[in-house]
């Protein structure tokens, strides 16, 4: 069982969390002014990193907050958490 560090609640079992995809995928500030390529990239293109991946998690069955984390996708080890809003 993976133990994930929630920035609010501390280390908790993975059963309490849901994965929320790649981090820092910003929604374009003005979608109507966004070109098709940029919008497609926002919707569908992800880095699919092999190695340290910046990603979002939600402590869905806990404090229910979203937070960012760095996880090595080859070892499943978390690095320091970035608890940003």
């Amino acid at each position: 069982m993976l133990i994930i560090n929630c920035p609010y609640c501390g280390p908790r079992p993975e059963l309490e969390f849901s994965y929320a995809g790649q981090a820092h995928v910003a929604r374009p500030a003005d979608p109507s002014a966004t070109g098709d390529d940029e919008w497609t990239a926002y919707l569908y293109l992800r880095t699919n990193t092999r190695g340290v991946h910046a990603e979002r998690w939600r402590h869905a069955r806990g404090c229910a907050r979203f937070f960012n984390a760095l996880r090595d996708t080859t070892t499943d080890r978390f690095r320091r958490d970035l608890s940003e809003r």
Binding site: A20, P28, S32, W39, L43, R65, F66, T75, R85
Partner: protein, 607 residues
Amino acid sequence: MTLGTVGADGAISRGDTVDCDTVLMSGGYTPSVHLFSQSRGKLRWDAELQAFVPGASAERERSAGACRGVDGLEVVLNDGAQAGAAAASDSGFEGTAPRYRAVAREFSRRGAPGALAQPGNDPPAKAFVDFQSDVTTRDLVLAAREGFESIEHVKRYTTTGMASDQGKTSGMNALAFVAAGLDRTPPQVGLTTFRMPYTPVTFGSFAGYDRGNLFDPVRTTPTHEWALAHGAVFEDVGLWKRARHFPRPGEDMHAAVARECLAVRSACGVFDASTLGKIEVVGADAAQFLSRMYVNNFANLAVGRARYGVLLREDGFVYDDGVIARVANDRFHVTTTTGGAARVLGMMEDYLQTEWPDLEAWLTSTTEQWSVIALQGPRARDVLAGLVEGVDLSPGALPHMSVARGRICGVPMMLFRVSFTGELGFEINVAADYGQAVWEAVYAAGKSHGITPYGTESMHVLRAEKGYVIVGQETDGTVTPDDAGLGWAIARSKPDFVGKRSLERPAIKAPGRKQLVGLLTVDPATVLEEGAQVVAVPAQSPPMQLIGHVTSSYASAVLGRSIALAMVADGRARIGQTLYVPMPGGDIPVQVTAPVFYDAEGVRLHG
């Protein structure tokens, strides 16, 4: 059994013949590296041992004793003690290893890995490598010759190592033969991935307590006991048990549904709608937030009014829908589909926390706080009149799509004037502990008005007669609002909402998209199958040109014939055409119509 010995050259020399009842065969010795490998440690080939041993660890573990290739009882015991002391020390504890002395009969674990069939040996040896799957050295050599170079391919091609020992007896021997067959060394070929579990585990262990009535939570509504007592047949909707129909003695589902639907349209019916998701959105920016999430504008929704909301994903496809009521300036009661409750709440929370954290709006799930009793039909108001206090039920005071607070049976109530049947309709919301009693009171009050309980099956038919879509039935994650005939719900003046930008994508604006239409079978008694495909040209041979599919199909008692909803390419332009539904028994001709079969003007809603 005849015994023999294997020479260094692999040739067999025959020895004694013995009588026996059972033969126990060993696969030889090799360190058990399964657990180490399952911890994602990297194996290392030890050329001297001719075996794989634990190399670099991935987890905080270490291997000791025979599993890392050391030999002899005393050596193994001391190796274990040393490892324990080192682990304790590395963890910050004091640890000294005891010293063991052992006297044991030692024997060699080295040896040639099996025998290859030699031309000179008579008869040719059938050398079994995997004793359970009966894989011989010949099979392995053949695999190599047939071009299976990856050890994973060899495993599947020959089934070596796939029996219940998972390669514990066969693994290393098979590797040696495959390597020889490919003219490589064992480390160059490598081992197959070690799968968990380490030893066979019973299904019972995996199941644990997840069995019988505890396999999944069984979710029931506040009126469940009443429904049970009145003969309801239930269906599973996710984890919920919902009454599907209420058959009277002698009725099958078809007959019950026909009776229930006729009763709703001629008198009134009562239906438990408690399972639909409810979210209370509260805050100064609640209207602004909902306007950014849904296609509709909620800023201009007056207090006490309700609106049908459509929720898209960012890719422009319909994700959920529901009636949203403004109960106060800064408070909205949002409803979702039964199956969508959790994910809509999650999606909203995602946007509030990570996209628009400056909005003053908070979400609270109230799905289980309220029991929801739908009362639908021309007599609905008559039934309610004697029960509610503090609410003016007249059409002027409580028009279609509005909400009011009052009391029923002495307890607080939120009353919605809303309809999923197309009839005069209300939904009574009371705190869940009162749901059963209020239902009983409504039913008692309705007896003289011909009230009939109805279930989800009738609910489906009644809404289909009106062409109301069900998300997940007419839509499948690839349907836009316009495809489903819901383009009218979009507030065109809004600069942005979730999914709006995607509606401008070329593929979304291109002609030929599947659109919602109605289908009337030329033979009114024929009921189409849901999921059946639609074609324009009859009597085609496969592969046919498919242009659409049936999403909902029912026998309509009210209309005295079958009806169906379908998604068909350029559907709206085909209204009036005859299309075909190919089935094993032949093509079924259908007329394409607008997706509404009953009271198209919606007169009955405004009673």
